[in-house]
């Protein structure tokens, strides 16, 4: 047994880089797939709506842990050797995409029908209505729940330890196993998690204020 020392903190900080990397993969991968799914959910084509909604139901109905196992152990059993990073990236991307899609669909649908109608009446195409009228307004509504879910993702990356990742939570366990000083070790882990998630909330509040920056004085002619 040895005591908790600065090297351990360095080790935790390095593990936190995995947490951050996995989170970023989930944000970007899940964000892109989620955006496409959200558009499918509100498509005029029935088949796209049905495919997207079926996919979302399945993904949302399964624990992330099980999805990680399916991509890691399941495909390995079938003879496909998926590296842990790949399996984690796929699982996190698909998992986040379903939740992002639902958050964004909800925000789009919360925009009053009159906005669609007046844009349509001016001759805008469906894509123009979405791009210039609906989505800019929906973004503001979507911001708080989106950031809320991103914070969830950061915490959920700890599940990847079960397919072999030494990310922040797993690193904390390892350090505790050799130091037997759970209080300082996990306090340190908690502080690192917090300092990863907190900037997200700050960013969100800042963006929210910015997208609502309508209150500049009226310019007179």
């Amino acid at each position: 047994m040895r005591s908790f020392n600065p090297n351990d903190i360095l080790f935790l900080a390095q593990a936190a880089l995995w947490t951050i990397a996995l989170s970023l993969i989930a944000f970007f991968g899940g964000g892109i797939v989620g955006a496409i799914l959200a558009l499918w959910r509100i498509s005029t084509l029935r088949v796209l709506r049905m495919v997207a909604s079926g996919y979302i139901q399945i993904i949302q109905g399964m624990p992330l842990l099980i999805q990680l196992f399916i991509w890691y152990f399941g495909l390995n059993l079938l003879g496909m050797d998926l590296p842990a990073l790949m399996a984690a990236a796929i699982a996190l991307t698909l998992y986040s995409s379903a939740f992002f899609a639902e958050i964004w669909r909800g925000s789009i649908e919360a925009i009053p029908k009159g906005q669609w109608e007046s844009a349509a009446s001016l001759g805008l195409s469906r894509f123009e209505m979405l791009g210039y009228v609906i989505i800019p307004q929906a973004l503001r509504l979507a911001l708080p729940p989106t950031v809320g879910f991103m914070v969830q993702i950061v915490k959920n990356t700890s599940l990847t330890s079960l397919v072999g990742f030494v990310e922040l939570a797993r690193a904390g366990q390892l350090v505790n196993n050799v130091t037997f000083q759970p209080l300082p070790v996990f306090a340190c882990v908690a502080v690192i998690y917090f300092s990863t998630c907190f900037p997200l909330s700050i960013l969100s509040r800042w963006l929210e204020r910015r997208t609502h920056g309508h209150r500049q004085p009226v310019r007179s002619a």
């Binding site: 001016l122 307004q137 309508h214 007179s220 002619a221």
Partner: protein, 243 residues
């Protein structure tokens, strides 16, 4: 040739029949006021004209173009038809100027300078030239409604549709909007308006159309219709509308 022509139009929502065989011809440069009780189908009729609602039977022709439910037709058609709603429906995230110029740049492919010139012209026309840089939430209801009118006018429509555009406004604010509409009528704009303002209809409309239970029940120039209503339903409607 009428600029708006409806013949045998039927529209239902599920089993609810809202328009039952409506035929109406609107001549160029005239003002038609649609009046009638709540639920009689006035808004639905208006919304069918620019294709916001799909009709189940009959035909609507605007300026020689048949209203059909495909994107290309509707886009072309809607450039000819302006519509103003009771709830203004301005784009809250855009300035007054951008509200007016958005469709000019996207649909008519105009440059920023061309758009700006038109925005100044139509905003002056509705008396709001000084609000060009404001956001909708900074304006009163009456001002927002006038911006909505300006936004439609910017597209140089051949026909303007108004659906109870003053119903959400306080009496003092109603007047400023009605004055703008009256000015448009004087300039020869073809207008179809749903209204509860009987005085306005009497003063400005060339033709009053009384709708009752999804049909045109009575129709004619206001000078005749309001003086000697032919049907008991319309007579009753007028007396309840005045009180």
């Amino acid at each position: 040739m009428a600029i708006v022509n409806l013949s045998g139009v039927r529209k239902s929502y599920g089993s609810l029949s809202v328009l039952k065989d409506v035929s109406l011809a609107v001549e160029r440069g005239t003002v038609v006021a649609l009046v009638g009780r709540s639920g009689s189908g006035k808004s639905t009729l208006l919304r069918c004209i620019n294709g916001l609602e799909r009709i189940n039977a009959g035909e609507i022709v605007v300026d020689g173009r048949r209203v059909e439910q495909n994107e290309a037709t509707l886009r072309a058609l809607r450039q000819e038809i302006g519509i103003v709603f009771q709830s203004y429906n301005l784009f809250p995230h855009l300035t007054v100027e951008r509200n007016v110029t958005l469709a000019l740049s996207l649909v008519k492919k105009m440059s920023t300078a061309e758009g700006h010139a038109i925005a100044e012209r139509v905003l002056n026309q509705v008396g709001l030239g000084d609000k060009i840089g404001a956001y909708p939430e900074q304006l009163s209801g009456g001002q927002q409604q006038r911006v909505a009118i300006a936004r439609s006018l910017a597209m140089s429509p051949k026909v303007m549709l108004f659906d109870e555009v003053t119903s959400a406004l306080d009496p003092e604010l109603k007047e400023e909007v009605l004055r703008v509409m009256e000015g448009l009528a004087r300039e020869g704009m073809t207008m179809i308006l749903v209204t509860h303002e009987m005085d306005f209809a009497r003063r400005v409309a060339n033709e009053v159309v009384f709708m009752h239970q999804g049909k045109i029940h009575e129709q004619g120039p206001p000078s005749r219709l309001f003086v000697e209503p032919a049907t008991p339903e319309f007579r009753q409607f007028i007396s309840s509308a005045i009180n």
